[in-house]
């Protein structure tokens, strides 16, 4: 089968899975829906692998295949097709998305086992993967926008999955609103580009863009920055990032899949996909790099002060995506995508391990209440440490190579980018600190009662499950932890999924060892062959090895610091907090972004809304427009019915009246 056929199949299978699991909701017993959904994903992953080999079979210059299923509207000036673009970049994304999704589905089969919404969960999850695959395979802006919006919708459905939790629905709404803001940016950006190039198709757009737009052309820069707004909203970049920590209200497999490995990397993919445009509009690229850099620092500092286990990982996700956005905006495409791949492995792993711990805590996510799980959960501990080492960038784990490549290649751009790289190194230190803060606080120290209970071989079940965020009694009909919950130590499928990811998190970095292997470089070359940075950015040997050494040192220093502060001298954090009160307040309040958005946007909008409701809606719309028009129609109806008296003489009279009027009109023409 050709690469495009296999790509279509990879797209169709998750959709089929979503439909089959949804329609069969009456018939599925036990974990059947989970296995159906997981099978669909493994099938999709197999198709993706097939598409990879089929694409590698093509000659290098022929590795950009477009396949259109049908024309939606193909009139003059518009070429809206349902088409996909199969090239190395989309295949890389396809492999990551379907592969990681398949493993997370496998994990969720057991993890969600006690949930009443089991079938619904897998239907949503399959639908999400379908949307994500549509997004990465899109061959034109129309399909991209559809996939983009579907992904946002699926994310909303899954964040609000436990819909009786007020906090979960609020988080879902927040995520959806910010994502729609991004959708608007994407649509407007696509419109700006379409206005210039007159086509929606990606490859044609890239072809025509240099002819239509001059370098840094105002419209092109505006279009690219609007695309960036879309990318920032999806990828949780400052200032559109506040939804991501709240999205941790969703079930943990959702956090692992959507809010770590796939959806949030869509922005990185978008910038990489649009690289010919960003290279024509370097201003937009610089904006992207600066925002990415700001995000990575803000998120890393915030993560230092948070106590919610999943939120710390969420902030670290933001921070890591900041690195990727910085890289692809600066032209270090392969480095950014390399980090995307390794991050998908180790971050999904971290979330899965965290999910296991949270299950052992019966749903509580607060690190202040955790501790000493090392002996109770050796497997989870091992996975968490592997993920943590990769995240912190300790050699030879995968994150070490990818983060180093980002910093080394971005530094090659010189100028302002050197400042950005410096910030990147500072944040790398913070990353190592907060990662091991998590590990030390959760797994070391005195075992908490829950850990002791688990050591006895029994999982803790609270008498009245409460919402960890608000403390209210949980509705176990739809709410986690439900009647049952599951930890990796007791579930083979979860172990398989986590073990595979742990392996990948260790060896994933060997794809691109500086000066040794360059598999990704070679694979992605056909996509980025037209790039001006692809060949030009190549650090010298000296710079490479200095960078590697510095990265390793910083990671180890960070871990050592964390060990000193949280294990050796447990009193230190309080002292530091005292000394650096303003900074601590800034970090623990997440840089007051929520408050800022509340004051600047939400409150004025609410005031405007209430004004519109009281004054405009009631007086003008309801009173004048609605009341007026329906009044006129009603009066007309009464008049017409009054004329319909039933008496022939009136009918004939009106007939003659009409006739006279018409005749007079015609005679006036004479």
């Amino acid at each position: 089968m050709s690469a495009t056929t296999l790509a279509w199949l990879a797209l169709a299978l998750p959709l089929a899975g979503a439909i089959v699991t949804a329609l069969g909701f009456r018939f599925w017993r036990g974990r059947a829906a989970g296995y159906v959904g997981t099978a669909a994903l493994f099938g999709s992953f197999a198709c993706a692998i097939g598409a990879f080999f089929a694409l590698q079979g093509e000659p290098a210059e022929g590795r950009q295949l477009v396949s259109a299923l049908w024309d939606y509207a193909a009139t003059a000036g518009l070429d809206a097709q349902l088409s996909i673009l199969v090239d190395p970049l989309s295949i890389l994304m396809l492999l990551v998305v379907t592969g990681v999704s398949a493993l997370i589905h496998l994990y969720a089969v057991a993890y969600m086992g006690g949930d009443r919404g089991y079938t619904r969960f897998f239907s949503y999850l399959n639908f999400f993967v379908f949307s994500m695959v549509l997004l990465v395979l899109a061959g034109n802006f129309l399909v991209l926008i559809i996939g983009w919006a579907f992904v946002g919708a699926a994310s909303y459905l899954l964040i609000s999955f436990w819909y009786r939790r007020a906090t979960a629905t609020a988080a879902g709404i927040k995520a959806f609103v910010i994502n729609v803001l991004g959708d608007v940016g994407l649509v407007l950006g696509a419109y700006f580009l379409f206005r210039g190039t007159g086509t929606l198709d990606f490859l044609t757009t890239f072809e025509r863009a240099p002819e239509v737009f001059a370098e840094n052309d105002g419209e092109l820069v505006a279009g690219c920055i609007l695309l960036l707004v879309g990318a920032f909203a999806k990828s949780a970049q400052v200032p559109l990032h506040t939804w991501l920590p709240d999205a941790m209200e969703g079930p943990t497999p959702v956090s692992a899949l959507i809010h770590a490995a796939t959806m949030v990397t869509a922005g990185v993919y978008l910038i990489a996909r649009m690289h010919p445009l960003f290279e024509l509009a370097p201003t937009a690229g610089t904006v992207g790099a600066i925002i990415g850099c700001a995000t990575l620092l803000i998120a890393a500092t915030t993560a230092m002060a948070q106590t919610d286990l999943k939120r710390v990982i969420a902030y670290s996700t933001m921070s890591q995506i900041g690195y990727m956005v910085m890289a692809v905006s600066a032209g270090a495409y392969v480095a950014g995508l390399f980090h995307l791949v390794t991050h998908a492995f180790f971050k999904a792993l971290l979330f899965m391990a965290a999910g296991s711990v949270i299950a052992a805590m019966a749903g509580n996510q607060n690190m202040d209440r955790m501790g000493g799980f090392r002996r109770a959960m050796p497997f989870t501990f091992g996975c968490f440490v592997i993920g943590g080492l990769a995240l912190a960038g300790v050699p030879p784990f995968s994150g070490f190579f990818s983060k180093d490549e980002i910093l080394a290649y971005t530094a090659e751009r010189g100028g302002i980018f050197l400042v950005l790289v410096l910030v990147g190194y500072v944040a790398a230190f913070l990353t190592a600190v907060y990662t091991f803060r998590m590990i030390f606080r959760t797994f070391l120290g005195e075992p908490v009662p829950e850990a002791r209970e688990l050591e006895q071989g029994h999982l803790h079940h609270p008498e009245h499950p409460t919402n960890p965020a608000s403390g209210e009694i949980e509705d176990t009909e739809v709410g986690f932890p439900g009647p049952e919950h599951h930890v990796a130590e007791q579930s083979p499928t979860m172990k398989v999924a986590m073990g595979t990811l742990a392996l990948l998190a260790i060896v994933g970095g060997f794809l691109q060892i500086p000066k040794v292997t360059h598999l990704l470089d070679d694979f992605l070359e056909p996509t980025f062959a037209d790039s001006i940075y692809f060949e030009a950015l190549s650090p010298s040997d000296a710079a490479t090895f200095v960078g590697l050494g510095l990265g390793a040192l910083i990671a180890l220093a960070g871990i050592a610091t964390a060990w000193l502060v949280w294990v050796r001298e447990p009193g230190t954090p309080a002292k530091v907090r005292e000394r650096l009160r303003p900074a601590y307040a800034l970090f623990v309040n997440k840089w007051w972004f929520d408050e800022l958005i509340g004051t600047v946007i939400v409150r004025p909008a609410r005031w405007l809304g209430s004004f519109a409701l009281t004054a405009f809606e009631r007086l003008f719309v309801q009173g004048t427009l609605v009341g007026g028009t329906s009044g006129i129609v009603r009066a007309g109806s009464a008049a017409v019915r009054a004329a319909q008296s039933g008496f022939l003489r009136f009918y004939v009279a009106l007939f003659l009246g009409g006739m006279v009027a018409l005749t007079i009109w015609f005679l006036l023409q004479a």
Binding site: A639, F655, L662, Q669
Partner: protein, 515 residues
Amino acid sequence: MNGAAQGASVDWAALSPLLALAGGALVVLMVGLFPGRGVRDRVVPGLALLTLAVTAGLLVWQYDTSTDLLEGALRVDGLTVTLSFVFVVAGMATVVMTWRHLDPVESPGPELYTLLLSSIGGMVVLVAAQDLVTLFLGFELLSIPLYVLCAIQLRRRGSLESGLKYLVVGSVGSATLVYGFALIYGAAGTTGFAGIAEAISGDLSSDVLLLAGLALAIVGFAFKASVAPFHQWTPDVYEGAPTPITAFMATATKAAALGVLLRFLDVALLPAAEAWAPAVAVLAAVTIVVGNVGALGQSSLKRLLAWSGVAQAGYLLAGVVVGTSLGVQATVFYLAVYLLMNMAAFAVIAARERETNLGDSVDALAGLGTSRPWLAWPMTIAMLALAGFPLTAGFIGKFKLIEASVASGYTWVGLMIVIGSMISLAYYLKVIAAMWMREAPAGAAAVAATGPRPALAGASTEAQITAPTRHTRRGTGELTVMAVLFGAATLVVGIVPQPLLDFAAKAGEAFPGLF
């Protein structure tokens, strides 16, 4: 040179559909004279259906004909053929609905079918006519049987009232029309359409005699098409006439009236378009408003559909006004679609008339969604289609009409169609709401249970329930099938409109003078 008068050469093949209808009408009348209920109940309707089927077959045979007949009196072309299909399908549906519908005591036997076939014949003549004389002949051949058909339920006062009203107002309409023709003939000196067009494009375009005749002729046609302010007979006649006849009038008569307007205005009078087009556009707008506001607040379904028919006539006029082949295509397409959606609705109304004592009241539909989904769905589709809901044929039809209006500079008429559709939702949705959101009234349930078994435990009312009602219960199987077929067709055309659009485009090709 034998001195014998030589008759005009006749293209029998092209004339064959008309001959089949006329012959079939005679055969039905004669066969009906045989005694026996079997003949009356089975053979005669069967023969009527056969006649229509043969006619349809002949129309298929003549599908690509485009020729003048009988010295130019008639013309068989795309418009004639496509509209004849509409008449024939409407006729078939009417025969199916009539069968078992009328009270056996009053069953009029073969006359009904003879009249129906004659009326269809008149319609074919009407849309094929390109001479004032044949046109009027067709007009009367269509109208006179209809007067009788409306009054065919001899013992029901509503039916008689309907027939009489139709006859009186119809006579006024016919008189106006023939007077208008006389004036046009006086001005142009010829009755042929081609001659009239030629005379107008000469120096007659502002001739008083011609323009007055034009006005009167348009009034006559407008009456037949239920265009306001000549529409007032419509609700009364539709409500009183037997439901199958109402269905026939709503679909076939409308198609005939619009068809003749197309040929008369867009062929004979095209050179005078500047004079008539604005006037007809205003008529269309007035009709849309009057029809839609009139339909609000109606509780009789037949009356409601009558008013909606007035409004739809306004939409259809938009396609006539523009005088382009796109307009002709849009009009014919909408007429075909209109047949589908109306027949689905009328089949449901007829079925409920048989099943309940509530007649054609909206109440008869209450709770239909749960009790009779096979009737409720076609009715729902029909109402949505009439309102122009996307995914139904009505949407495509309206879309084409609006497209034709906008393309020819009549954007404001297109806007009127949109505004009219908005108002129309108020009454179409009311019908849907009655089916899906209201409980079936207790009375209807009692009637449905009428039979050997006592309906309810309340014994005091039992005597009334088991007493023979005036209506004997008759099956509704064929009506359900019909409703489902037409409802499904409405959906299919809404999703795959291309075949029917091609069909309608054939009518547009019949007017080479248009662009």
